[in-house]
Amino acid sequence: MTEVKAKVIKSNTVILHTASLFLLPLQLLFSMFLLLRGHDEPGGGFIAGLVAAGAFVLYLFAHGVDSTRKILRVEPHDLIGAGLLFGVISALPAIFFGQALLTAQWWSFYLVGTEVKLSTVLLFDLGVYLVVMGSILTIVMSLNEAEE
């Protein structure tokens, strides 16, 4: 399938082609790291979303829109929708504890001896992550398709 697309994407080289296959999982892993690190240190949903989008954009340059869609499995539009939904939902739990809307809720528990902190803040960050990634992929993919 990549051979078909290779005609369309002119800048395709063997090096980029192969490198993007290795870089994609690495970049995605790094974006996850940034997302979780954003809890207490520099990082967070926005920059993590940019890195994740960057990973897929690189793959798109090497392999074309169709195969990117295939590995993405979902429409970028849906990522935006899901992200917004997470963001809105993160405001709600406070209501059930009788606090003002958007008050952050924290839950921590121990998993194999490490403290795991979950919070509505993380949910919100995840929402930002998905919206940023979805928006950029929507833009890049539609530009690419318009070119074709």
């Binding site: 929708g81 963001g87 405001a91």
Partner: protein, 502 residues
């Protein structure tokens, strides 16, 4: 924890988000549009009843206490505006079902509409100056997109003026916020009002007052920076124009009312005199501009400018009665102007044009629509016993009471010119013989599809509102008396925010 005060912001956000989630199906988006705006109206009414019972409803977002966190606060004015947002949203959502083409729906018309409503409701309910700026931007973002949806040449031209002027206004607004923060060290509006009375540099306070006046004046389309409105409001789909004319300019008016009763009430002789003359010029230029126009929607757009003058006049006279009149005018104008825009859309659907020259004889074939137009048009001109009469009557009386004869005279003369413009539309569109080349078959053909019914339902709700406001205005006026009382005595607002209950 007061849920009712945040719901008018939160409901459109949820509705917009859900519309994005189901972006593949316009069917669900349409349902969400109607249900979401209906829920918005219901939450507005809930908020209004809570405010009537207690005076102020306050919520500190994220449990960060004022003046450090963001306060969401509703007094009677905010609550009434929230109800208005819900009503306009519902009417326009219903009307959109019958008038927005499928291509626009696919390009995110409904999510943008919800986003716009969230921005408007946020502006009405926030008690934080910077947060107000954020809601303004949310609103503008959505309105830019709605304005250009469809991508016609005229739309782009209108949008460029709209975007430029509004960004300019945002820049002034933001710099004023910066200066304000530098002076009093707080952004919470109640806290600013509290601290500003102790500040020494009264000269700087007046400079800031004028800067805010310019920023909000541009958004409200007041003289002299109003020309973006007639350049852009007639270009998008008529449902969008109606939403803009009914709600968007009112946000600027609301911000002026809030700032110049709560914060800048120290040197009324200076600030409110400027407002007074700005109001006068706005009324005159708007109505004269309208008299020169021969396109249905352009006349309506110019008239919006002229009517904005009345609302600012109410604030500028700065007596309880004048505030009642000005705010009554806001409500009245939202209903009437939205209604007129929606009717122009219906006429367009029947005839395929907005040009007065190419129209005629609508009354003979569609007397029902003509009557609906006449009710709204006469109300706009201020003919008793419709809502516009009482709105104008209160303002004029307030003007005479404090001896502002010149401006009262201007207001009355402008009312007459408004009547002239409305009669012009009536004569050209509904009365005169059909011109050559008008598609009479289309006009005569029976309209009995669901689209027409949706459009008529939207118009019907507004007409009912106009009649109700005219014939059963007493409870509304009583509510507005409480509102004016609160605005003239901002101590209650300040105490509610800063000394607040939880």
């Amino acid at each position: 924890m007061r849920l009712e005060v945040i719901l008018p912001i939160f409901i459109p956000l949820i509705a917009g988000t859900l519309s994005v989630v189901v972006w593949r199906s316009t069917f669900y988006q349409r349902w969400i549009a109607v249900l979401g705006t209906a829920a918005l109206l219901a939450s507005g009414l809930w908020l209004l009843s809570a405010v009537r019972a207690e005076g102020h409803v306050v919520m500190q977002m994220g449990n960060w206490q004022a003046p450090f966190g963001i306060t969401i606060v509703a007094d009677t004015l905010s609550a009434v505006m929230a109800v208005l947002t819900g009503l306009m949203g519902l009417v326009v959502a219903i009307y959109s079902l019958g008038s927005i083409p499928a291509s626009h729906e696919r390009f995110g018309y409904y999510p943008l509409m919800h986003l716009l409503l969230a921005g408007v409701a946020g502006s009405f309910l926030t008690g934080d100056l910077f947060n107000l700026y954020v809601w303004f931007e949310v609103m503008l973002l959505a309105s830019f997109a709605l304005l250009t949806l469809g991508g016609e040449r005229a739309q782009m031209e209108g949008a460029i003026k709209y975007v430029t002027l509004n960004l300019f206004s945002s820049a002034i607004f933001l710099s004023s916020i910066g200066l304000m923060y530098g002076m009093v060290g707080t952004l919470n509006m109640a806290d600013i009002a509290d601290k500003l009375s102790e500040v020494e540099h009264t000269g700087m306070v007046n400079v800031l007052a004028v800067m805010f006046m310019v920023a909000f004046g541009i958004k409200a389309a007041a003289f002299p920076l109003f020309f973006w409105l007639p350049a852009s409001y007639h270009t998008p789909r008529v449902a969008v124009s109606a939403l803009f004319a009914g709600l968007l300019t009112k946000v600027g008016i609301y911000a002026l009312y809030r700032m110049f009763t709560l914060i800048f009430n120290g040197d009324v002789a200076y600030t409110h005199t400027i407002l007074l003359w700005s109001a006068g010029f706005t009324m005159v230029t708007g109505v004269l501009g309208a008299a020169a126009q021969f396109e249905f929607r352009r006349i309506l757009a110019f008239h919006s400018v002229s009517q904005i003058g009345y609302m600012i006049l109410g604030l500028a006279l700065y007596t309880p009665l004048a505030l009642i009149g000005g705010l009554f005018y806001v409500i009245h104008h939202s209903l009437v102007k939205t209604c007129l825009f929606l009717i122009s859309g219906l006429v367009y659907r029947l005839t395929g044009t907005y040009e007065l020259k190419e129209l005629g004889e609508v009354y003979r074939h569609r007397p029902g629509i003509a009557i609906l137009f006449l009710i709204a048009a006469l109300s706009l001109a201020g003919i008793p016993p419709l809502s516009g009469f009482f709105a104008k009557f209160i303002i004029v009386r307030a003007g005479l009471e404090i001896g502002a004869y010149t401006l009262t005279g201007i207001a009355l003369a402008v009312g007459l010119l408004t009547l002239f413009s409305m009669i012009k539309i009536w004569a050209e569109v509904f009365w005169k013989a059909a011109p050559e080349g008008m598609d009479m078959e289309r006009l005569k053909a029976p309209v009995n599809d669901s689209h027409g019914r949706f459009m008529l339902t939207g118009i019907g709700i507004l007409i009912a509102g106009i009649l109700l406001l005219g014939f059963w205005g007493q409870p509304v006026i009583e509510l507005f008396e409480v509102m004016a009382e609160q605005l003239m005595n901002p101590e209650g607002y300040i105490e509610a925010v800063l000394g607040g209950e939880q």
